[in-house]
Subunit: 482 residues, 4 copies
Amino acid sequence: MNAQLKSFSTEGDYKIRDIALADWGRKELDIAEHEMPGLMSIRKKHAATLPLKGVRVTGSLHMTIQTAVLIETLKDIGADVRWASCNIFSTQDHAAAAIAATGTPVFAWKGETLEEYWDCTLDALSFPDGKGGLIGPELVVDDGGDVTLLIHKGYELEKGDESWVNSASGSHEESVIKALLKRVHAERPDFWTRTVAEWKGVSEETTTGVHRLYQLAQDGKLLVPAINVNDSVTKSKFDNLYGCRESLADGLKRAMDVMLAGKVAVVCGYGDVGKGCADSLRAYGARVVVTEIDPICALQAAMEGYEVTTIEETLGRGDIYVTTTGNKDIIRVEHMQAMKDQAIVCNIGHFDNEIQVDALNALKGVEKINIKPQVDKYVFGNGNAIFLLADGRLVNLGCATGHPSFVMSNSFANQTLAQIDLWANKDTYANKVYLLPKQLDEEVARLHLEKIGVKLTRLTQEQADYIGVPVEGPFKPDHYRY
Amino acid sequence: MNAQLKSFSTEGDYKIRDIALADWGRKELDIAEHEMPGLMSIRKKHAATLPLKGVRVTGSLHMTIQTAVLIETLKDIGADVRWASCNIFSTQDHAAAAIAATGTPVFAWKGETLEEYWDCTLDALSFPDGKGGLIGPELVVDDGGDVTLLIHKGYELEKGDESWVNSASGSHEESVIKALLKRVHAERPDFWTRTVAEWKGVSEETTTGVHRLYQLAQDGKLLVPAINVNDSVTKSKFDNLYGCRESLADGLKRAMDVMLAGKVAVVCGYGDVGKGCADSLRAYGARVVVTEIDPICALQAAMEGYEVTTIEETLGRGDIYVTTTGNKDIIRVEHMQAMKDQAIVCNIGHFDNEIQVDALNALKGVEKINIKPQVDKYVFGNGNAIFLLADGRLVNLGCATGHPSFVMSNSFANQTLAQIDLWANKDTYANKVYLLPKQLDEEVARLHLEKIGVKLTRLTQEQADYIGVPVEGPFKPDHYRY
Amino acid sequence: MNAQLKSFSTEGDYKIRDIALADWGRKELDIAEHEMPGLMSIRKKHAATLPLKGVRVTGSLHMTIQTAVLIETLKDIGADVRWASCNIFSTQDHAAAAIAATGTPVFAWKGETLEEYWDCTLDALSFPDGKGGLIGPELVVDDGGDVTLLIHKGYELEKGDESWVNSASGSHEESVIKALLKRVHAERPDFWTRTVAEWKGVSEETTTGVHRLYQLAQDGKLLVPAINVNDSVTKSKFDNLYGCRESLADGLKRAMDVMLAGKVAVVCGYGDVGKGCADSLRAYGARVVVTEIDPICALQAAMEGYEVTTIEETLGRGDIYVTTTGNKDIIRVEHMQAMKDQAIVCNIGHFDNEIQVDALNALKGVEKINIKPQVDKYVFGNGNAIFLLADGRLVNLGCATGHPSFVMSNSFANQTLAQIDLWANKDTYANKVYLLPKQLDEEVARLHLEKIGVKLTRLTQEQADYIGVPVEGPFKPDHYRY
Amino acid sequence: MNAQLKSFSTEGDYKIRDIALADWGRKELDIAEHEMPGLMSIRKKHAATLPLKGVRVTGSLHMTIQTAVLIETLKDIGADVRWASCNIFSTQDHAAAAIAATGTPVFAWKGETLEEYWDCTLDALSFPDGKGGLIGPELVVDDGGDVTLLIHKGYELEKGDESWVNSASGSHEESVIKALLKRVHAERPDFWTRTVAEWKGVSEETTTGVHRLYQLAQDGKLLVPAINVNDSVTKSKFDNLYGCRESLADGLKRAMDVMLAGKVAVVCGYGDVGKGCADSLRAYGARVVVTEIDPICALQAAMEGYEVTTIEETLGRGDIYVTTTGNKDIIRVEHMQAMKDQAIVCNIGHFDNEIQVDALNALKGVEKINIKPQVDKYVFGNGNAIFLLADGRLVNLGCATGHPSFVMSNSFANQTLAQIDLWANKDTYANKVYLLPKQLDEEVARLHLEKIGVKLTRLTQEQADYIGVPVEGPFKPDHYRY
């Protein structure tokens, strides 16, 4: 199935594409460090105290160059790290190689099968316990909640609840997860229980993953304290908005080399991700149409001059479709069948189920032609074709290299501060979802200002008193929206 | 001082410039109603039930055409309304005339003195009590908190605390307020006490006014439940951002007819107001420089491509200065003295003390030349001059007509829903500051979509379940930032 | 018809609204001079040599503050100037007053009738000939070609060709012109012949006027050398594009105070004027639709992300219509009847016949309601209404104050250089249409750079040789499009 | 030097990287055809008449997918085509393979040495003459003028003028050309003479190449009629402006994955290319600084809100430098030495000498580190580094895939119409430089409208008469600037 598997580098405690790519990866890491002042400042500040000294950290997060800088930051402040990607297409193989070459266990390559993906996740969770066995992490860095899901579901199974693993699966991926859990259950019967006993927390950075956490907490099932990194301003308003503004067009260009000017581009969803996408596409001269369910976001889109209508009304005139919602079934098979010939369809939201990819692949009378990696042409019975990018997975990661370093430095500085915070408060935090305090959020921003030449104005004491804030901040109430 | 006062229309229970302007005002009201679908929908919805039937409502809010539509909406749902402006320059005299002509008491004209302003505020607070005396309102619509201040300070005085009214005044306006309170105290000794006994709430729509309310609540001094309308998304993200984007340039153009392209424009503050201003000025081809105290907002400005630096570093190259902060002493006398010849200085934040106007007027060796209403030239000893607009008060209201109707329909729909909510919950609300529930916020947005041709997508039940929200909304967690 | 005529100031050789406005006008002239570095530099450069010493110059150009700076520039370099406006609504009365107060004959007020307009034009053409009679100008500054038309038609009549003055008139204005010419013919039988004998040239600054000149030249009827100022880059790409980008929204706002965000705005024509308008409206958050006849301009509009379609397809969804074409019958009565209720219709192109105003006024069953000066509401039989601004004449001049000073400094520097050039070459130029040489065009730009802080890079001799241009310019071939 | 040369596919009359890439190339050709409606329409229109039947055409133009569509268009209308690239880095190897696979001789691969490059150019010029010998083309499609140069210089040599080939060379490339010409002179002594005898014309599409042609014509040395395709509106205003707006960021992203928001980007030159680049970078949130020599272009940049200053003043704060000028020595070694650490330097103008690459490579104390293909890091003695992209050659072609298909369809439709025109008029055209008539320019635009859904408005006869143009166009005078 994946013919290239045989070229794997399997020396050492890692599974990656090719360890020979490590030098190239290191050169790009050097460049990225220069663009990630937040992480570099944190390294410097905590170099002496090592706040995560010896702490077992599992990361499940796109194994890119930027993530490599995060990994090395976690290591620099003391952590014992194992890593997997959180997406089958998002690994940059030279980044993984550079990390593996330093002796950090990493399990990720671009183009994993789903089976491989979940095996890698398990590998990242399996620390030697010092007694010849394996044990899970004390802290988790999660993106999309896959590690959190696996631990919760594994633990549930060990507690005797087999209902989920034996239920009918709604997708192929679900059945893969269940098979894995059954196998682990057979091979390491108390693995999850021992893991949960020492697990102190998870920080999560996506809307989708956070949503899962709030649901678990609401249902009283959350096993550890969690920090919602996604809703730090310096994450949600930076990574989602500015990151996508930088990387959507990048993905489209590398995949299709298409002229964006003059095209009708349909952006499904006008949250932060959708705002960044719409902004970018318009700047290229595309005519952007937005679809929305939320009247507030819809009104915002209208105030920016976008047409807001339903996807159905765009069929036949939309040239490019981008889903940004975090929801599912946004672009359905019947939509794709009715699109203009050679429309381009992609997702930059969360899971590939924003587009009905499985149903498309199962559809009779459709011919699928691979153009190049991550670009497939589907020809329908009526002769019309569409192009699906990255199999419906994140187009900026699948077809390009994801968000640029500088924006990720914001997100990952939040992740790192969250990890430090979880560990420092491991004895006091409850099993619920926390936000990082605003002061840390402002601190993350502050760490990035000098690099881009920003000079802040400083309040006088009199001014600070007048508006009732400390001279040093925080400057805004918690409900402030930026 | 104000030679035109003698032309006042004083027939009836109002003080306005000229009742003959009523017809023109009515024509513009007709146009505005078409642009204010939120208010018109509320009228229709509550026409039968009259939720504010007979409730005494005092409004202190710029007496513009848009406010006139708000006033008539409040009346249409049953209220007994009296109105003053909240700014000495912001009244549109034809709007006031149109309202007065219908028999609604209104006390406002463009170009009040501070003494007149506070007298008008008192007039708007003085309802006939049906027994030959006067009594205050049951509900207050406030903008900037002047009515709230007056009631609280008057009440404090009647309770025997004379410390404030006898303290030294930091500004001329403060001494005017104190004189007024002493006069009321002499003439109507229990007026505020009787008023507070029946006062059920206040809704407030500015950052500054809301800040005062939170301080009162925090100090345990807030006398009534308050609704923070400012932080409804459909207010803060619409009025502040889109409103200023529409009206700043309008004020600058009407005042100075100046070419914005090619100019260096310094925007002090990058909150919602500053974002709207910077966006507008850049679109005209100005080179925008931002000053900020908050590292997060500063980073946002940088991400949008603005230079962010201190005001001191802009002196000598800035052509246009706009304050947007809600703080004081942003542009100081020493700044103005060091500006480029013929720089334009104005404020769109909140109070005129964002610019040190009093100190400028008191400065020796400065010549002040009035060019036309709301435009003054100050010539410094070194021969350089600056232009100060609207005496440092809100430039969009002083030099133009404020925000356009459509955006105000959002703000005022929130105000109206807040008034209804306060009255409906008058027996249960505590004396603290509430936000409108998100569902009402979404409702306000929804009322404006049809007018501009927006078609919303509707969640399927399955999709709603997947993301864990009701099909009808609300769609976002409270901490969502839009 | 024009009740205010009686308040005219008629002392001295001028007809204006009110000489008492002169002081205000002078203050604004002082401000404008600061924004018109091109004209001020020309004054300084030619102060000693007075290249137009004693030359009779008639100007027919919107009598605004900026034009006043042009007039005083022409006077400063020696000219004997008489002036009229070229549009019945475009005069700024305080500007006219300031000019009249200095003793320069000026004939212009805001709101002339067509009869008054053409009388004013004649007055501006009538210099005392020193022998008790009257004679026309030696040079003409024209805008739209009305003065050129009048001289040519008057001369034709004196030469015995009565065909045109006796022909049926296509519009009311045409009949006014014919009546005037007959009257002049009766009163001053050889006026035009004597005028033409001494007339040395005309500079013209509009697309429409230039087009007329090329037609006259092509037909061999042009009586003098003409300079096409319109097609200087620093005119066509500055006044038309940047001027309208600054002033369209200004006109819309002062007339209607309308929210532009979220509106569908239809811009008819995508030449330089249309480009500036579309750009401005989009920046405000309007959704812009363009109509075009020229496939190249249409493709440009599409590349900028605008929808390009026919006006018919926009009816029912367009909120704002702007004509920018220089052609006629762009918005026809049947269009206006089918528009969305309360659509706004205006023209920023050239003549009021871009919109079928006459036909609209003549239409049965339409009610016309004046809202305020320059704003009329037309209510159709079906209950729908539209707003027509400035009677279909230039909305930026009729409803606001036209282009800002800085951009006009470019246009008027071209006009002034053209006048100097025409006079200097009066003995050598043929009766055809000339463009200003590129070096003068670059010079006009250069005069404006310092004011806005631009630092030019200077070619080395080696670089200049490499691209084959002089170090000092001109830098581009004549066909270069900028 | 080029280790991969050994993998060449050399079967048949071509030199390319790998014939196995043909299938992939064909798939992308299929996609491109859909995006190139101009070329496809021309194919259809001339399918029957074959206006270039049997004509020998040599092309020297970036061997990309889009060029492949041009090549097949020329073949479809009858031409006998041979092709080389006009840039050592710009070939897309799968495009070359697809063309070679159809039997069309093509000589191009990504990463040629200069020697290989000029050999390829000669190969593309060498048609079998049917008598066992070789002869040059009857028509040339040129980009940058290299083929034109070679023929002119070769012919000069055969005519006995050895001055140039024996002169000192200013660059390595110049010496390569001279060596080649000497070799040809030895091997095929009358090749250029016989070629020139049958050569009927050249169409050229770059500013630089056109400039060379005008110089040749001015010096009386131009050997054939030439068509300046560059200055068709649908080329200069589309390819240069919109093409670079699409492809500059693409090149930067693929090379460096850098965040553009918040960066200071210096764009050298504000012609059409510079305008597109500045526009794109600003849209990403970069702060753009422009350098210019021409006061008109400088003023345009200022009117768009860009800071305009000299490159020297940007050193230390510029993060990204882009040259767009067509001139040389724009970024000099002393500039690069003084740049901010890790500044990115690239060229999208014309030749690599816009940046002093040779001097940089020759500089003592500089360490050059290759990061990946087309990305080199230069570390200076002071520890600072810069990144040079594509060795100073066109960054959009070297680091990405050049302009997208749709914009190239405009340029190449002009090229094709120019070829047809040259052949049709081969007996009448003089040896000078022609522009395509405006009607053809409009036709090119028209061919692209339907694809993007544009609906043109059609003039009535009355409107056409009013503005004095035919109903069908052309609509504008030749001096119109768009």
